[in-house]
Protein backbone atom coordinates (compact mmCIF):
# COMPACT_ATOMS: atom_id res chain seq x y z
CA UNK A 1 0.00 0.00 0.00
CA UNK A 2 1.23 3.47 -0.80
CA UNK A 3 2.29 5.90 1.92
CA UNK A 4 -0.64 7.86 3.20
CA UNK A 5 -3.22 5.46 1.83
CA UNK A 6 -5.69 4.31 4.40
CA UNK A 7 -7.18 0.92 4.99
CA UNK A 8 -10.92 1.05 4.55
CA UNK A 9 -13.59 -1.52 3.95
CA UNK A 10 -12.76 -4.93 2.52
CA UNK A 11 -13.75 -3.99 -1.04
CA UNK A 12 -11.41 -1.02 -0.91
CA UNK A 13 -8.50 -3.37 -0.26
CA UNK A 14 -9.69 -5.60 -3.06
CA UNK A 15 -9.73 -2.52 -5.24
CA UNK A 16 -6.12 -1.84 -4.37
CA UNK A 17 -5.07 -5.30 -5.37
CA UNK A 18 -6.87 -4.91 -8.68
CA UNK A 19 -5.35 -1.54 -9.42
CA UNK A 20 -1.87 -2.70 -8.64
CA UNK A 21 -2.17 -5.86 -10.73
CA UNK A 22 0.56 -6.25 -13.39
CA UNK A 23 -1.49 -5.05 -16.36
CA UNK A 24 -2.70 -2.17 -14.13
CA UNK A 25 -6.15 -2.20 -15.67
CA UNK A 26 -9.00 -1.67 -13.26
CA UNK A 27 -11.54 -4.43 -13.44
CA UNK A 28 -14.79 -2.59 -14.03
CA UNK A 29 -17.86 -4.28 -12.78
CA UNK A 30 -19.67 -1.00 -13.32
CA UNK A 31 -19.72 0.43 -16.80
CA UNK A 32 -20.63 4.03 -17.13
CA UNK A 33 -21.81 5.49 -20.43
CA UNK A 34 -20.10 8.84 -20.19
CA UNK A 35 -21.19 10.02 -23.64
CA UNK A 36 -24.87 9.56 -22.82
CA UNK A 37 -24.51 11.19 -19.40
CA UNK A 38 -22.65 14.14 -20.90
CA UNK A 39 -25.62 14.72 -23.18
CA UNK A 40 -28.06 14.54 -20.24
CA UNK A 41 -25.90 17.04 -18.34
CA UNK A 42 -25.56 19.36 -21.39
CA UNK A 43 -21.80 19.12 -21.04
CA UNK A 44 -19.70 18.55 -24.14
CA UNK A 45 -16.60 16.42 -23.54
CA UNK A 46 -13.56 15.71 -25.69
CA UNK A 47 -12.77 12.14 -26.73
CA UNK A 48 -9.85 12.08 -24.25
CA UNK A 49 -12.06 13.27 -21.37
CA UNK A 50 -14.71 10.68 -22.22
CA UNK A 51 -12.20 7.83 -22.14
CA UNK A 52 -10.48 9.09 -18.98
CA UNK A 53 -13.76 9.60 -17.11
CA UNK A 54 -14.98 6.13 -18.04
CA UNK A 55 -11.94 4.60 -16.38
CA UNK A 56 -11.75 6.98 -13.39
CA UNK A 57 -15.46 6.91 -12.61
CA UNK A 58 -15.52 3.14 -13.06
CA UNK A 59 -12.99 2.95 -10.21
CA UNK A 60 -15.06 5.32 -8.08
CA UNK A 61 -18.22 3.29 -8.74
CA UNK A 62 -16.38 0.13 -7.82
CA UNK A 63 -15.47 1.79 -4.55
CA UNK A 64 -18.97 3.07 -3.77
CA UNK A 65 -20.29 -0.46 -4.21
CA UNK A 66 -19.13 -1.00 -0.61
CA UNK A 67 -22.59 0.34 0.29
CA UNK A 68 -24.09 -2.90 -1.02
CA UNK A 69 -22.58 -4.65 2.00
CA UNK A 70 -25.10 -2.91 4.26
CA UNK A 71 -28.63 -4.02 4.96
CA UNK A 72 -30.71 -0.87 4.65
CA UNK A 73 -34.14 -2.46 4.61
CA UNK A 74 -36.51 -0.50 6.83
CA UNK A 75 -34.13 2.47 7.08
CA UNK A 76 -35.62 5.88 6.24
CA UNK A 77 -33.55 7.98 3.83
CA UNK A 78 -32.04 11.27 5.08
CA UNK A 79 -32.28 14.11 2.54
CA UNK A 80 -30.67 16.63 4.86
CA UNK A 81 -29.78 16.76 8.54
CA UNK A 82 -31.68 19.90 9.56
CA UNK A 83 -34.89 19.17 11.47
CA UNK A 84 -36.87 21.75 9.46
CA UNK A 85 -39.42 21.01 6.74
CA UNK A 86 -41.85 22.90 4.52
CA UNK A 87 -40.63 26.38 5.33
CA UNK A 88 -42.78 29.07 3.72
CA UNK A 89 -42.72 32.83 3.96
CA UNK A 90 -45.68 35.17 3.85
CA UNK A 91 -46.99 35.71 0.34
CA UNK A 92 -46.19 39.39 0.18
CA UNK A 93 -44.39 41.66 -2.24
CA UNK A 94 -40.79 42.38 -1.27
CA UNK A 95 -37.98 44.40 -2.72
CA UNK A 96 -35.84 42.46 -5.20
CA UNK A 97 -33.27 43.13 -7.93
CA UNK A 98 -34.04 45.81 -10.49
CA UNK A 99 -33.83 44.79 -14.17
CA UNK A 100 -30.41 46.41 -14.47
CA UNK A 101 -29.05 44.57 -11.39
CA UNK A 102 -30.45 41.24 -12.57
CA UNK A 103 -28.95 41.75 -16.02
CA UNK A 104 -25.62 43.19 -14.83
CA UNK A 105 -23.74 39.90 -15.28
CA UNK A 106 -25.50 38.69 -18.43
CA UNK A 107 -23.15 37.72 -21.26
CA UNK A 108 -25.69 38.98 -23.84
CA UNK A 109 -28.64 41.29 -23.23
CA UNK A 110 -30.84 43.87 -24.92
CA UNK A 111 -33.96 45.85 -24.01
CA UNK A 112 -33.89 44.61 -20.40
CA UNK A 113 -33.91 40.97 -21.58
CA UNK A 114 -31.43 38.08 -21.70
CA UNK A 115 -30.59 37.10 -25.26
CA UNK A 116 -30.51 33.35 -25.96
CA UNK A 117 -29.83 31.35 -29.07
CA UNK A 118 -32.89 30.83 -31.26
CA UNK A 119 -35.05 27.98 -29.90
CA UNK A 120 -37.99 27.74 -32.37
CA UNK A 121 -37.88 27.46 -36.14
Amino acid sequence: METGAVTLAQPARKFWILRNSPNNRPMLDSTINVRHLAHLARLNLTEEETVAFESQLGQVLNYVKTLELLDVSGVEPTAHAAPVFNVFREDEIRESFSESEALANAPRKANDLFIVTKVVE
Partner: protein, 483 residues
Protein backbone atom coordinates in the same frame (compact mmCIF):
# COMPACT_ATOMS: atom_id res chain seq x y z
CA UNK B 1 6.48 44.44 20.04
CA UNK B 2 4.89 42.22 17.40
CA UNK B 3 3.95 43.74 14.10
CA UNK B 4 0.22 44.20 13.47
CA UNK B 5 -0.04 41.39 10.92
CA UNK B 6 1.27 38.92 13.50
CA UNK B 7 -1.50 39.61 16.02
CA UNK B 8 -4.68 37.63 16.48
CA UNK B 9 -8.15 39.10 16.03
CA UNK B 10 -8.60 39.30 19.81
CA UNK B 11 -5.25 41.06 20.27
CA UNK B 12 -6.05 43.55 17.51
CA UNK B 13 -9.45 44.26 19.06
CA UNK B 14 -7.65 45.08 22.30
CA UNK B 15 -5.41 47.60 20.52
CA UNK B 16 -8.33 49.10 18.61
CA UNK B 17 -10.48 49.67 21.68
CA UNK B 18 -7.46 51.16 23.50
CA UNK B 19 -6.98 53.44 20.46
CA UNK B 20 -3.43 52.16 20.00
CA UNK B 21 -4.04 51.38 16.35
CA UNK B 22 -6.65 52.01 13.64
CA UNK B 23 -8.41 49.84 11.04
CA UNK B 24 -6.44 51.66 8.32
CA UNK B 25 -3.12 50.78 9.97
CA UNK B 26 -4.21 47.15 10.23
CA UNK B 27 -5.23 47.05 6.56
CA UNK B 28 -1.91 48.66 5.57
CA UNK B 29 0.00 46.08 7.63
CA UNK B 30 -1.94 43.24 6.00
CA UNK B 31 -1.38 44.74 2.53
CA UNK B 32 2.39 44.96 3.12
CA UNK B 33 2.45 41.38 4.31
CA UNK B 34 0.52 40.28 1.22
CA UNK B 35 3.03 42.11 -1.00
CA UNK B 36 5.88 40.38 0.82
CA UNK B 37 4.67 36.77 0.96
CA UNK B 38 1.75 36.20 -1.39
CA UNK B 39 3.95 35.97 -4.50
CA UNK B 40 5.27 32.70 -3.00
CA UNK B 41 1.96 31.49 -1.45
CA UNK B 42 -0.52 32.67 -4.13
CA UNK B 43 -3.53 32.39 -1.83
CA UNK B 44 -5.47 35.52 -2.83
CA UNK B 45 -7.33 35.64 -6.14
CA UNK B 46 -8.51 39.21 -5.52
CA UNK B 47 -7.21 41.79 -3.05
CA UNK B 48 -8.35 45.43 -2.88
CA UNK B 49 -7.08 47.23 0.27
CA UNK B 50 -8.16 50.66 -1.07
CA UNK B 51 -11.82 49.67 -1.06
CA UNK B 52 -11.45 48.14 2.41
CA UNK B 53 -9.91 51.34 3.73
CA UNK B 54 -12.90 53.32 2.47
CA UNK B 55 -15.18 50.99 4.43
CA UNK B 56 -12.86 51.20 7.45
CA UNK B 57 -13.39 54.96 7.70
CA UNK B 58 -17.07 54.39 8.52
CA UNK B 59 -16.74 51.42 10.85
CA UNK B 60 -18.00 51.46 14.46
CA UNK B 61 -15.10 50.31 16.65
CA UNK B 62 -17.36 49.56 19.60
CA UNK B 63 -18.84 46.54 17.73
CA UNK B 64 -17.52 43.03 18.54
CA UNK B 65 -15.48 42.78 15.30
CA UNK B 66 -15.17 46.54 14.77
CA UNK B 67 -12.30 47.39 12.40
CA UNK B 68 -11.19 43.81 11.72
CA UNK B 69 -10.51 42.83 8.08
CA UNK B 70 -11.66 39.29 7.19
CA UNK B 71 -10.61 37.37 4.05
CA UNK B 72 -13.46 35.63 2.21
CA UNK B 73 -13.38 32.42 0.21
CA UNK B 74 -14.19 33.07 -3.46
CA UNK B 75 -17.47 31.12 -3.14
CA UNK B 76 -19.31 33.66 -0.92
CA UNK B 77 -20.95 36.74 -2.48
CA UNK B 78 -19.56 40.11 -1.34
CA UNK B 79 -21.41 42.90 -3.11
CA UNK B 80 -19.29 44.61 -5.73
CA UNK B 81 -16.44 42.09 -5.61
CA UNK B 82 -15.78 39.19 -7.92
CA UNK B 83 -17.19 35.81 -6.82
CA UNK B 84 -15.81 33.27 -9.26
CA UNK B 85 -15.54 30.06 -7.22
CA UNK B 86 -12.08 29.80 -8.86
CA UNK B 87 -13.86 28.81 -12.07
CA UNK B 88 -13.57 30.09 -15.62
CA UNK B 89 -17.33 29.78 -15.99
CA UNK B 90 -17.78 32.69 -13.57
CA UNK B 91 -14.96 34.77 -15.02
CA UNK B 92 -15.94 38.43 -14.82
CA UNK B 93 -18.88 37.85 -12.47
CA UNK B 94 -19.46 40.63 -9.94
CA UNK B 95 -21.58 39.80 -6.89
CA UNK B 96 -24.78 41.88 -6.97
CA UNK B 97 -25.53 41.33 -3.26
CA UNK B 98 -24.00 40.40 0.09
CA UNK B 99 -24.37 36.86 1.42
CA UNK B 100 -26.15 36.82 4.79
CA UNK B 101 -22.88 35.81 6.49
CA UNK B 102 -21.16 38.86 4.96
CA UNK B 103 -24.01 41.12 6.04
CA UNK B 104 -23.62 39.66 9.56
CA UNK B 105 -19.86 40.31 9.54
CA UNK B 106 -20.45 43.90 8.47
CA UNK B 107 -23.09 44.36 11.18
CA UNK B 108 -20.49 43.21 13.71
CA UNK B 109 -18.03 45.82 12.37
CA UNK B 110 -15.80 43.55 10.27
CA UNK B 111 -14.49 44.56 6.83
CA UNK B 112 -14.34 41.95 4.03
CA UNK B 113 -10.85 42.14 2.49
CA UNK B 114 -9.73 39.90 -0.36
CA UNK B 115 -11.10 36.74 -2.00
CA UNK B 116 -9.19 33.56 -1.35
CA UNK B 117 -8.33 30.75 -3.74
CA UNK B 118 -10.09 27.38 -3.60
CA UNK B 119 -10.75 24.22 -5.53
CA UNK B 120 -13.16 25.08 -8.35
CA UNK B 121 -16.69 25.17 -6.89
CA UNK B 122 -15.20 23.81 -3.64
CA UNK B 123 -14.61 20.41 -5.24
CA UNK B 124 -11.28 19.11 -4.06
CA UNK B 125 -8.93 18.58 -1.15
CA UNK B 126 -5.80 20.41 -2.27
CA UNK B 127 -6.85 23.70 -3.97
CA UNK B 128 -5.09 22.34 -7.08
CA UNK B 129 -8.45 22.31 -8.89
CA UNK B 130 -8.50 26.13 -8.99
CA UNK B 131 -8.74 27.41 -12.57
CA UNK B 132 -6.68 30.46 -11.55
CA UNK B 133 -3.54 29.50 -9.64
CA UNK B 134 -1.80 26.98 -7.42
CA UNK B 135 -1.71 27.89 -3.72
CA UNK B 136 1.18 26.65 -1.60
CA UNK B 137 1.35 25.56 2.01
CA UNK B 138 3.10 28.25 4.11
CA UNK B 139 4.93 25.55 6.11
CA UNK B 140 6.46 24.02 2.97
CA UNK B 141 5.82 25.68 -0.37
CA UNK B 142 6.33 22.42 -2.29
CA UNK B 143 3.15 21.10 -0.65
CA UNK B 144 -0.59 21.65 -0.94
CA UNK B 145 -2.44 23.81 1.62
CA UNK B 146 -5.38 21.39 1.67
CA UNK B 147 -8.76 22.19 0.27
CA UNK B 148 -11.14 23.24 -0.77
CA UNK B 149 -10.70 26.35 1.47
CA UNK B 150 -6.92 26.17 0.90
CA UNK B 151 -6.60 29.89 0.18
CA UNK B 152 -8.39 30.88 3.39
CA UNK B 153 -6.22 28.48 5.43
CA UNK B 154 -2.99 29.67 3.80
CA UNK B 155 -3.66 33.42 4.27
CA UNK B 156 -4.39 32.92 7.97
CA UNK B 157 -1.35 30.66 8.51
CA UNK B 158 0.96 32.99 6.54
CA UNK B 159 -0.25 36.01 8.54
CA UNK B 160 -1.65 37.58 5.35
CA UNK B 161 -5.08 37.82 6.99
CA UNK B 162 -6.33 38.20 10.54
CA UNK B 163 -9.06 35.65 9.94
CA UNK B 164 -11.06 34.18 7.07
CA UNK B 165 -14.36 32.59 6.14
CA UNK B 166 -14.36 29.19 4.49
CA UNK B 167 -17.02 26.68 3.52
CA UNK B 168 -17.12 23.00 4.45
CA UNK B 169 -19.04 20.36 2.46
CA UNK B 170 -16.94 17.30 3.35
CA UNK B 171 -14.09 18.79 5.37
CA UNK B 172 -13.17 21.86 3.33
CA UNK B 173 -12.68 24.06 6.42
CA UNK B 174 -11.24 21.48 8.84
CA UNK B 175 -8.84 19.65 6.48
CA UNK B 176 -6.96 22.76 5.21
CA UNK B 177 -7.02 24.20 8.75
CA UNK B 178 -5.26 21.04 9.95
CA UNK B 179 -2.72 21.02 7.10
CA UNK B 180 -1.89 24.73 7.59
CA UNK B 181 -1.82 24.67 11.42
CA UNK B 182 -4.79 26.94 12.18
CA UNK B 183 -8.25 26.69 13.78
CA UNK B 184 -11.25 25.86 11.56
CA UNK B 185 -14.86 25.47 12.70
CA UNK B 186 -17.62 23.80 10.70
CA UNK B 187 -20.84 24.74 12.46
CA UNK B 188 -23.90 22.49 12.73
CA UNK B 189 -25.82 22.25 9.46
CA UNK B 190 -28.35 25.10 9.47
CA UNK B 191 -26.47 27.25 11.99
CA UNK B 192 -25.00 29.75 9.53
CA UNK B 193 -27.10 30.93 6.61
CA UNK B 194 -26.12 29.56 3.20
CA UNK B 195 -27.81 32.48 1.41
CA UNK B 196 -25.17 33.94 -0.90
CA UNK B 197 -22.88 30.90 -0.67
CA UNK B 198 -22.65 29.45 -4.19
CA UNK B 199 -24.18 25.99 -3.75
CA UNK B 200 -22.10 22.83 -4.23
CA UNK B 201 -24.04 20.21 -2.21
CA UNK B 202 -26.89 22.02 -0.50
CA UNK B 203 -27.59 19.42 2.19
CA UNK B 204 -23.93 19.41 3.30
CA UNK B 205 -22.53 22.94 2.75
CA UNK B 206 -21.84 25.12 5.76
CA UNK B 207 -19.88 28.40 6.19
CA UNK B 208 -17.47 28.77 9.12
CA UNK B 209 -14.50 30.71 10.54
CA UNK B 210 -10.81 29.96 9.94
CA UNK B 211 -8.61 31.70 12.50
CA UNK B 212 -5.30 31.70 14.41
CA UNK B 213 -6.92 31.06 17.80
CA UNK B 214 -9.99 29.39 19.27
CA UNK B 215 -11.21 32.65 20.81
CA UNK B 216 -11.07 34.31 17.37
CA UNK B 217 -13.16 31.48 15.93
CA UNK B 218 -15.71 31.91 18.73
CA UNK B 219 -15.98 35.65 18.00
CA UNK B 220 -16.61 35.14 14.29
CA UNK B 221 -18.96 32.20 14.86
CA UNK B 222 -21.04 34.31 17.23
CA UNK B 223 -21.28 37.05 14.60
CA UNK B 224 -22.37 34.84 11.68
CA UNK B 225 -24.56 32.21 13.39
CA UNK B 226 -28.30 32.62 13.61
CA UNK B 227 -31.61 32.26 11.83
CA UNK B 228 -32.12 33.66 8.33
CA UNK B 229 -35.42 33.40 6.53
CA UNK B 230 -33.62 33.66 3.18
CA UNK B 231 -32.27 30.11 3.78
CA UNK B 232 -35.07 27.57 4.24
CA UNK B 233 -32.73 25.14 6.02
CA UNK B 234 -31.60 27.77 8.53
CA UNK B 235 -32.33 26.70 12.12
CA UNK B 236 -34.57 28.99 14.14
CA UNK B 237 -32.80 28.13 17.39
CA UNK B 238 -31.09 30.58 19.76
CA UNK B 239 -27.29 30.64 19.54
CA UNK B 240 -25.59 30.22 22.88
CA UNK B 241 -22.80 32.78 23.34
CA UNK B 242 -19.63 30.63 23.34
CA UNK B 243 -17.40 33.31 24.86
CA UNK B 244 -18.43 33.21 28.55
CA UNK B 245 -18.00 29.41 28.48
CA UNK B 246 -14.53 29.41 26.91
CA UNK B 247 -12.63 29.69 30.17
CA UNK B 248 -14.77 27.31 32.22
CA UNK B 249 -12.40 24.38 31.70
CA UNK B 250 -13.11 20.75 30.86
CA UNK B 251 -13.05 19.03 34.23
CA UNK B 252 -15.32 15.99 33.99
CA UNK B 253 -15.84 16.38 30.24
CA UNK B 254 -16.55 13.03 28.58
CA UNK B 255 -14.37 12.64 25.47
CA UNK B 256 -15.04 9.78 23.07
CA UNK B 257 -12.35 8.15 20.94
CA UNK B 258 -13.97 6.38 17.99
CA UNK B 259 -11.98 3.20 17.36
CA UNK B 260 -12.78 3.44 13.61
CA UNK B 261 -10.72 6.66 13.42
CA UNK B 262 -7.53 5.13 14.77
CA UNK B 263 -6.76 2.69 12.00
CA UNK B 264 -3.85 1.26 10.06
CA UNK B 265 -2.62 3.70 7.46
CA UNK B 266 -2.52 6.86 9.56
CA UNK B 267 0.89 8.55 9.39
CA UNK B 268 2.75 7.66 12.63
CA UNK B 269 3.60 11.32 13.36
CA UNK B 270 -0.06 12.26 13.06
CA UNK B 271 -1.20 9.45 15.31
CA UNK B 272 1.41 10.34 17.94
CA UNK B 273 0.44 14.03 17.99
CA UNK B 274 -3.26 13.18 18.32
CA UNK B 275 -2.63 10.57 21.07
CA UNK B 276 -0.54 13.12 22.97
CA UNK B 277 -3.36 15.66 22.60
CA UNK B 278 -5.81 13.18 24.10
CA UNK B 279 -3.45 12.63 27.06
CA UNK B 280 -3.37 16.40 27.47
CA UNK B 281 -7.18 16.55 27.54
CA UNK B 282 -7.14 13.84 30.18
CA UNK B 283 -4.64 15.77 32.29
CA UNK B 284 -6.99 18.76 32.08
CA UNK B 285 -9.71 16.70 33.74
CA UNK B 286 -11.47 15.02 30.83
CA UNK B 287 -12.61 11.39 31.03
CA UNK B 288 -11.62 9.35 27.99
CA UNK B 289 -14.03 6.71 26.66
CA UNK B 290 -13.56 4.40 23.70
CA UNK B 291 -16.63 4.54 21.49
CA UNK B 292 -17.70 3.05 18.17
CA UNK B 293 -19.11 4.73 15.07
CA UNK B 294 -19.70 1.49 13.15
CA UNK B 295 -20.67 2.98 9.78
CA UNK B 296 -17.57 5.19 9.46
CA UNK B 297 -16.06 3.16 6.63
CA UNK B 298 -19.10 3.86 4.44
CA UNK B 299 -18.95 7.65 4.76
CA UNK B 300 -16.73 8.41 1.76
CA UNK B 301 -18.80 6.28 -0.60
CA UNK B 302 -22.04 7.79 0.70
CA UNK B 303 -20.62 11.27 0.34
CA UNK B 304 -19.48 10.86 -3.25
CA UNK B 305 -22.97 9.78 -4.26
CA UNK B 306 -24.91 12.46 -2.37
CA UNK B 307 -22.51 15.35 -2.98
CA UNK B 308 -22.13 14.70 -6.71
CA UNK B 309 -25.89 14.22 -7.15
CA UNK B 310 -26.59 17.56 -5.52
CA UNK B 311 -23.73 19.23 -7.41
CA UNK B 312 -24.97 18.03 -10.80
CA UNK B 313 -28.33 19.67 -10.07
CA UNK B 314 -26.89 22.86 -8.54
CA UNK B 315 -24.40 23.43 -11.36
CA UNK B 316 -27.14 23.18 -14.00
CA UNK B 317 -27.65 26.92 -13.45
CA UNK B 318 -24.37 27.68 -15.24
CA UNK B 319 -25.81 27.69 -18.73
CA UNK B 320 -24.33 30.82 -20.31
CA UNK B 321 -27.56 32.82 -20.15
CA UNK B 322 -27.77 34.83 -16.93
CA UNK B 323 -24.16 35.20 -15.83
CA UNK B 324 -20.62 34.11 -16.45
CA UNK B 325 -18.97 32.66 -19.50
CA UNK B 326 -20.84 31.96 -22.74
CA UNK B 327 -19.38 30.26 -25.78
CA UNK B 328 -19.25 32.17 -29.03
CA UNK B 329 -19.30 29.01 -31.12
CA UNK B 330 -22.82 27.61 -31.14
CA UNK B 331 -25.73 27.63 -33.60
CA UNK B 332 -28.34 25.95 -31.43
CA UNK B 333 -29.39 26.40 -27.83
CA UNK B 334 -28.37 22.88 -26.84
CA UNK B 335 -24.95 23.34 -28.42
CA UNK B 336 -24.62 26.68 -26.62
CA UNK B 337 -25.21 24.94 -23.26
CA UNK B 338 -22.87 22.06 -24.05
CA UNK B 339 -19.98 24.19 -25.29
CA UNK B 340 -20.35 26.91 -22.65
CA UNK B 341 -20.07 24.27 -19.95
CA UNK B 342 -17.24 22.44 -21.72
CA UNK B 343 -15.22 25.65 -21.96
CA UNK B 344 -16.12 26.91 -18.48
CA UNK B 345 -15.73 23.91 -16.16
CA UNK B 346 -12.47 22.21 -15.18
CA UNK B 347 -11.87 18.44 -15.15
CA UNK B 348 -12.89 17.66 -11.53
CA UNK B 349 -16.13 19.61 -11.84
CA UNK B 350 -16.93 17.80 -15.09
CA UNK B 351 -16.16 14.44 -13.48
CA UNK B 352 -18.50 15.14 -10.58
CA UNK B 353 -21.30 16.43 -12.82
CA UNK B 354 -21.10 13.18 -14.82
CA UNK B 355 -21.05 11.01 -11.68
CA UNK B 356 -23.93 12.97 -10.13
CA UNK B 357 -25.95 12.71 -13.32
CA UNK B 358 -25.31 8.95 -13.35
CA UNK B 359 -26.42 8.27 -9.77
CA UNK B 360 -29.62 10.26 -10.34
CA UNK B 361 -30.38 8.80 -13.77
CA UNK B 362 -33.25 6.48 -14.53
CA UNK B 363 -32.53 2.92 -13.41
CA UNK B 364 -29.70 3.88 -11.02
CA UNK B 365 -31.45 6.24 -8.62
CA UNK B 366 -32.56 3.54 -6.15
CA UNK B 367 -29.32 1.59 -6.35
CA UNK B 368 -27.09 4.58 -5.65
CA UNK B 369 -28.78 7.76 -4.50
CA UNK B 370 -31.60 6.32 -2.40
CA UNK B 371 -29.29 3.70 -0.86
CA UNK B 372 -26.76 6.42 0.01
CA UNK B 373 -29.48 8.48 1.70
CA UNK B 374 -30.37 5.45 3.82
CA UNK B 375 -26.74 4.85 4.78
CA UNK B 376 -26.62 8.54 5.67
CA UNK B 377 -29.35 7.84 8.23
CA UNK B 378 -27.21 5.06 9.74
CA UNK B 379 -24.18 7.36 9.93
CA UNK B 380 -26.24 10.08 11.62
CA UNK B 381 -27.65 7.54 14.12
CA UNK B 382 -24.11 6.44 15.04
CA UNK B 383 -23.33 9.99 16.15
CA UNK B 384 -26.62 10.66 17.92
CA UNK B 385 -26.09 7.45 19.91
CA UNK B 386 -22.46 8.33 20.68
CA UNK B 387 -23.45 11.75 22.02
CA UNK B 388 -25.67 10.05 24.58
CA UNK B 389 -22.46 8.69 26.15
CA UNK B 390 -19.91 11.44 25.52
CA UNK B 391 -19.84 15.25 25.22
CA UNK B 392 -17.18 15.54 22.53
CA UNK B 393 -15.50 13.14 20.10
CA UNK B 394 -11.74 13.50 19.52
CA UNK B 395 -9.83 12.08 16.54
CA UNK B 396 -7.35 13.07 13.81
CA UNK B 397 -8.62 15.62 11.27
CA UNK B 398 -6.68 13.95 8.46
CA UNK B 399 -4.82 10.63 8.06
CA UNK B 400 -1.65 12.43 6.94
CA UNK B 401 0.07 15.81 6.81
CA UNK B 402 0.12 18.06 3.72
CA UNK B 403 1.12 16.08 0.65
CA UNK B 404 3.25 17.29 -2.25
CA UNK B 405 1.80 19.39 -5.06
CA UNK B 406 0.80 17.09 -7.92
CA UNK B 407 1.02 13.92 -5.82
CA UNK B 408 -2.65 12.94 -6.11
CA UNK B 409 -3.94 15.00 -9.03
CA UNK B 410 -4.20 12.01 -11.38
CA UNK B 411 -5.91 9.72 -8.92
CA UNK B 412 -9.33 11.12 -7.95
CA UNK B 413 -10.11 8.28 -5.56
CA UNK B 414 -6.92 8.77 -3.53
CA UNK B 415 -7.72 12.50 -3.38
CA UNK B 416 -11.21 11.67 -2.10
CA UNK B 417 -9.74 9.50 0.66
CA UNK B 418 -7.86 12.54 2.06
CA UNK B 419 -11.22 13.49 3.61
CA UNK B 420 -12.12 10.19 5.30
CA UNK B 421 -12.18 11.64 8.83
CA UNK B 422 -14.10 14.83 8.06
CA UNK B 423 -16.90 13.70 5.74
CA UNK B 424 -19.12 11.92 8.28
CA UNK B 425 -19.77 15.16 10.22
CA UNK B 426 -21.31 16.77 7.13
CA UNK B 427 -23.46 13.74 6.41
CA UNK B 428 -24.67 13.69 10.03
CA UNK B 429 -25.11 17.48 10.15
CA UNK B 430 -23.14 17.78 13.41
CA UNK B 431 -20.48 20.42 14.20
CA UNK B 432 -16.72 19.89 13.99
CA UNK B 433 -13.54 21.81 14.67
CA UNK B 434 -9.87 21.31 13.85
CA UNK B 435 -7.08 22.90 15.86
CA UNK B 436 -3.28 22.59 15.85
CA UNK B 437 -1.97 19.73 18.03
CA UNK B 438 1.67 19.53 17.06
CA UNK B 439 3.92 18.67 14.14
CA UNK B 440 5.01 15.64 12.18
CA UNK B 441 8.25 15.27 10.25
CA UNK B 442 8.04 14.19 6.63
CA UNK B 443 11.04 14.18 4.27
CA UNK B 444 12.77 16.87 6.31
CA UNK B 445 9.70 19.11 6.61
CA UNK B 446 8.03 19.95 9.88
CA UNK B 447 4.30 19.92 9.10
CA UNK B 448 1.27 20.80 11.24
CA UNK B 449 -1.12 18.16 12.56
CA UNK B 450 -4.78 18.82 13.36
CA UNK B 451 -6.86 17.48 16.24
CA UNK B 452 -10.49 17.15 15.25
CA UNK B 453 -13.23 17.63 17.82
CA UNK B 454 -16.78 16.67 16.87
CA UNK B 455 -19.82 17.86 18.79
CA UNK B 456 -23.53 17.14 18.98
CA UNK B 457 -25.86 19.28 16.84
CA UNK B 458 -25.89 22.90 18.09
CA UNK B 459 -23.07 22.24 20.57
CA UNK B 460 -20.44 24.55 19.05
CA UNK B 461 -19.94 26.14 22.48
CA UNK B 462 -18.77 22.77 23.86
CA UNK B 463 -16.31 22.31 20.98
CA UNK B 464 -14.89 25.80 21.43
CA UNK B 465 -14.56 25.38 25.18
CA UNK B 466 -12.71 22.07 24.79
CA UNK B 467 -10.48 23.49 22.08
CA UNK B 468 -9.71 26.58 24.14
CA UNK B 469 -8.67 24.56 27.19
CA UNK B 470 -6.32 22.45 25.03
CA UNK B 471 -4.92 25.44 23.14
CA UNK B 472 -4.13 27.41 26.30
CA UNK B 473 -2.41 24.39 27.86
CA UNK B 474 -0.18 23.74 24.85
CA UNK B 475 0.43 26.89 22.83
CA UNK B 476 0.81 25.26 19.38
CA UNK B 477 -1.07 28.24 17.91
CA UNK B 478 1.91 30.47 18.68
CA UNK B 479 4.10 28.64 16.14
CA UNK B 480 4.41 30.43 12.82
CA UNK B 481 5.78 29.26 9.47
CA UNK B 482 9.15 30.71 8.47
CA UNK B 483 8.45 32.84 5.40
Amino acid sequence: MSQLHELSLTELRGLLTAKKTSPTEIIDAIASRVDAVDPSIRAYVYFDPASAKKQAAKVDLSLPLGGIPVAIKDVINVKGDQCCCASKILDGYTAPYDATSIRALRSAGAIPLGRTNMDEFAMGSSTENSAFQITRNPWDTTRIPGGSSGGSAAVVAAREAVAALGSDTGGSIRQPAALCGIVGLKPTYGRVSRYGLVAFASSLDQIGPMTRTVEDAALIFKAIAGHDEADSTSLNTPVEDPLPLLRTGINGLRVGLPKEYFIKGIEPGVEKAVRDAIKQLESLGAEIHEISLPHTEFAVATYYIIATAEASANLARFDGVRYGHRTNQADSLIEMYGRTREEGFGPEVKRRIILGTYVLSSGYYDAYYLRAQKVRTLIRRDFIKAFEEVDVIACPTTPGTAFKLGEKTNDPLQMYLADIFTIAANLAGICGLSLPCGFSEDSGSRLPVGLQLLGAPLDEAMLLRTAYAYEQATGWHKETPAL
